[in-house]
């Protein structure tokens, strides 16, 4: 079988729904956030306490899944190396819309303590759209839960539209990504 049979190479499309239904579905989306179990940096050590007995994120409907196809939330947990950025882009594009990104720790905002490193991405928002930042180095699980509460509020109000921005400004994001990833071998078809 040809490789072509396995992918769509048209650009991602935005969907339009009626306002009333969208409010109801936004409520459901906010109550059921499935987080992809993928840690990009040191912050991912804070995720296991968040989902296990002590802090129990499942009471808010937050649970983890092992595949990007079913996930709603991608957590950029801490510093993001250029090498990891490639993987993050692939994971993000394989997730199905609507999808949200949470930036964890100071590193996702301005590079944190690695701001002058040769391979750390300083402002993640230039490469993939981030909906909620959780500041701290590292933020405790309580802070992450507070971040999730903020994300839920944004989703319910219909303001968590990072995925729409990504579709609208795909060329801009691609240009930024290609600028920093020198050896660009990511396929363009993993929506």
């Amino acid at each position: 079988m040809k490789e072509k049979d396995y992918f769509l190479d048209d650009r991602p499309k935005k969907l339009s729904y009626s306002e009333v239904w969208e409010k109801f579905f936004n409520w459901a989306r906010a109550q059921s956030l499935w987080v992809i179990a993928y840690g990009t940096g040191c912050g991912s050590i804070e995720i296991p306490p968040m989902v296990t007995s002590r802090f129990d994120a499942e009471r808010f409907g937050v649970s983890t899944v092992g595949t990007p196809r079913q996930a709603d939330v991608l957590i950029i947990s801490g510093y993001l190396a250029v090498k990891t950025l490639k993987r993050v882009i692939r994971v993000y594009e394989q997730m199905q819309s609507p999808k949200y990104v949470v930036g964890l720790g100071a590193c996702t905002v301005n590079g944190g303590m690695y701001y002058d490193s040769y391979n750390t991405v300083n402002l993640v928002d230039l490469y993939i759209p981030i909906d909620v930042y959780v500041a701290g180095c590292m933020p405790r699980p309580e802070a992450i839960l507070a971040g999730f509460a903020q994300l839920m509020k944004k989703i319910k109000e219909g303001r968590a539209d990072g995925w729409k921005q990504y579709i609208d400004n795909l060329d801009k994001y691609r240009k930024n990504q290609e600028k920093i990833i020198k050896n660009w071998k990511i396929p363009n078809y993993n929506w």
């Binding site: 049979d5 769509l8 059921s32 007995s53 129990d56 009471r59 409907g61 079913q70």
Partner: protein, 301 residues
Amino acid sequence: MWYKILYAFLVTVGGLAYGLLLGGISRKITARIHGRRGPTVFQNFIDLIKLLRKKTAISHGTMFFLAPMFRLLGGVGVLLLVPIVYGSSILSNFSFGGDLIVVLYFMVFGCLGMALGAADSGHPHSALAPTRGLAQMAGYELPFLISVIGLAIAHKTVSISGLVAAQQGGIFHWNLFQYPFLSIAGLIAMLGMYMAYPFSVVMAPQEIPVGPPTEYSSTFLSFMFSGRSIFGVGKYVLFMDLFLGGATNLVEAFVKTFALFLIIVFVTNVFPRYRTEQAVKFFWTYPVVIGLIDFIRIFIK
């Protein structure tokens, strides 16, 4: 007969709601055992609504699209063929003379569809899971068939309604007490069917992240999810009819299916997991030997 179609629709929707609620209760009980608060019992409804409205843009071939339909069809087929309330013209569903054999076929149908779809999705994890799932199916089918065929021979009928009719007349007429060893074999096979914890290697969240539905998202997953819930309820009703004497009204059906559900939940929360070959070995030894005791007793009688 148009009203039959209407009631079939209502039974399917009711079965889905009951299945989702049972899933929610199971999650809540697991959480309480962990010492957590846990999600609300309606969490599965919310998950389903969310999945229905997620966008999907994945193409993996024809079988990939058909597999969730197979899964749903297998579930609805089982639920609509087993009589929920004995003696009721409506809630006996589409029960007929040889329905036991058709139900046995439908129970395999969903799993096969799942396996075909998972193989078509091209993901290594989802191709690995059906091999485990089908191996485990080969394991639990043997004690299950010994149990079901034993009951059919004992009562000289292949109709589920006939089996229920044979168990009427008090608690000690139930197959659970008439043929205790066949019942034990059947109930152990039930644990395997529900992929309850000692036999949960098919999904195995820590090893092969999601199992068969790795590549499935959004609407596909919601179909699979609802198919699984309906299938679950259908099997509870089947086991109630086979071993617990069926039900003569809806409250009795509810109590008995809930009791079967509690067996699954409490077993699943206390056991670690068997590997595939250990599970198959277990199924082919203990429940088979236990079931054969009654099987031979039926033949000698």
